[in-house]
Amino acid sequence: MSVATRIAAVCGQEIRIARRNRWVALAFGLLTLFALALTFLGAGQSAVVKADILTIAAASLATLSVYLIPLIALILSYDSLSGEMERGTLPLALATPIRRWELFLGKFLAQTAVVTAAIVAGYAIAGAVAAGLRGADAAGLVAWARLIGTSAGLGAVFVALGMAVSACCSRTGTAAAIAIGLWLVFVVLYDLALLGAVIADNGGVFTKVVFPWLVLANPADAFRIYNLVSLESAPVAGIDGLAHTLPVPPATALAVVGAWLAAALLAGIALTRRLKP
């Protein structure tokens, strides 16, 4: 089928470019390194908290993933369309029978595959090393698998967001600036603002009613809360305290991540349709 052929062609070409640019190696190296470091930091703690090493490490990795994975995903995706626009290859591609949504989807699948491969490989290596040294129980393995799966989901959301940004900028410089802005807002500023509001509210209606929903509304926070809720023995602090007082089933957090993914994909495709090559 020609639709599948074209999507596969775009996907294959993008993966080739990511490999040549050493993005695959860089993302994999970065994630493996941080995962190993945190796992062994956790190994020191696990004696105190009396929990499986993988469970402890999953909690710290969930917190780290929130910073690292959106960053990697955005760096990979911000120039996927704006770069082609700047190089002049986008009009070439769009002059062929390919549909714009096919182009968008092919690129999205490729970049998500790159991020996912780096996450799976990096975290699996760190997990295997930890389990080999300290042993692991079933709960720890489940926590680890949950971490890898949800991390891939988080990566997909930010790849889609980065591509949507890329589709509305004809210059890669602008796209890069907006992508960094997105990362700051979702990962840093949003939480700071919420914390500030909670402190100012001093245990009022905002803290009890509005705050949990606002935390869940952010895909990065939803990812972290979901992972921490599932780790009862994990030490949590700050906004993550919500993990123990969540007013809804944890699966809601997963649904939030899924909703963000769908919204970002639809927005990205709509923006790609509006591109004037």
């Binding site: 020609s2 052929t5 074209r6 596969a8 062609a9 775009v10 070409q13 080739r16 470019i17 040549r20 640019n21 190089r87 002049g88 290859t89 009009p91 070439l92 591609a93 769009l94 002059a95 062929t96 029978p97 390919i98 004037k276 090559p277």
Partner: protein, 305 residues
């Protein structure tokens, strides 16, 4: 207009606006199979806009375009039209062969066409090298090879030879001639007539969004009816007296310039040769650039009230 007319491209009274700016206005042009048509115009004359309309990237505000009877941007039209944009730089990390296979897949053609096409444009030896190592001429050949995938009915080349050296330019046009000889119509844009002389069957000139000329080079030269310019150098200190006698315009301290229709050139030269105040004569025939300028300026003058 349909396929039966044998026309590959028809534009009828085409108009495109960007806000209040009229990028194209009342442009009508048709191209038959195997024809090489040069589209000339200054920067901003509307050449690229015209191409983008043929590709279906822009919707006309007025008039219409058909590719062998099909609407621009439709599947049938996309399969028939290929395109080489003005500035295209394929991803540096990919090899020429990878670029070609990619576009073959997007066009629904077998990837086996990639290598023979690269050989046809003369870069088969570099097929497995990364595009980042290619010279400008090689990159442009790769662009042309890409546009040859699937034997298109109409090839759009947007200033394909700008920045190429004369040898690379000649080679480029030789390939274009081969493509046209196999029945593909080629519409290429350029800044100047000199570049496309002998390379095209027809010349169309766009100026400020209007088509101001459309015909063979010979027909355009005749229509422009440009004048021969004769530069007459006077004997020492005789320029003023010569100017009084023969008229024309003083060029500097020692020369006068006369303009006359091509047909009267020889009679005028005979008369000047008999003048004892004349020391030398230079005859400047109207060149291609003069023809181009004539039509371009015509539109500019008309546009002003």
């Amino acid at each position: 207009m349909s396929d039966q007319d044998g026309l590959v491209l028809t534009a009828e009274d085409l108009g495109i606006r960007f806000g209040s700016h009229r990028a194209l206005e009342g442009v009508s042009l048709s191209v038959v199979p195997g024809e090489r048509v040069a589209l000339l115009g200054h920067n901003g004359a509307g050449k690229s806009t015209f191409f983008k309309t043929i590709l279906g990237f822009l919707d006309p505000d007025q008039g219409r375009v058909r590719i062998a009877g099909h609407r621009p941007g439709s599947d049938a039209a996309r399969r028939m039209v290929s395109y080489l944009p003005e500035t295209v730089s394929f991803h540096r990390a990919l090899t020429g062969l990878e670029v070609m296979r990619y576009f073959a897949r997007l066009r629904g053609e077998p990837v086996g066409v990639a290598m023979p096409l690269l050989e046809r444009v003369g870069i088969g030896h570099a097929a497995r090298r990364q595009v980042g190592t290619y010279s400008k001429g090689m990159r442009q050949r790769l662009g042309l090879a890409q546009a040859m995938i699937g034997t298109p009915r109409l090839m759009l080349l947007d200033e394909p030879t700008s920045g190429l050296d004369p040898v690379a330019r000649r080679d480029f046009y030789r390939i274009v001639d081969e493509v046209a000889a196999r029945g593909t119509a080629v519409l290429l844009s350029s800044h100047g007539l000199e570049e496309v002389e002998d390379r095209t069957d027809r010349v169309a000139i766009l100026s400020q969004g209007r088509l101001v000329a459309d015909g063979t080079l010979g027909a355009l030269a005749a229509e422009a009816a440009l004048k021969v310019s004769i530069r007459v150098t006077a004997e020492a200190d005789a320029a003023d007296r010569l100017h009084e006698r023969i008229g024309g315009a003083r060029l500097n301290g020692s020369a006068v310039v006369l303009n006359c229709p091509v047909g009267q050139k020889f009679a005028l030269m005979r008369q000047l040769a008999a003048e004892d105040l004349v020391r030398d004569l230079d005859v400047v025939m109207p060149g291609l650039d003069d023809i181009y300028r004539h039509f371009s300026d015509l539109a500019t003058k008309e546009a002003k009230p």
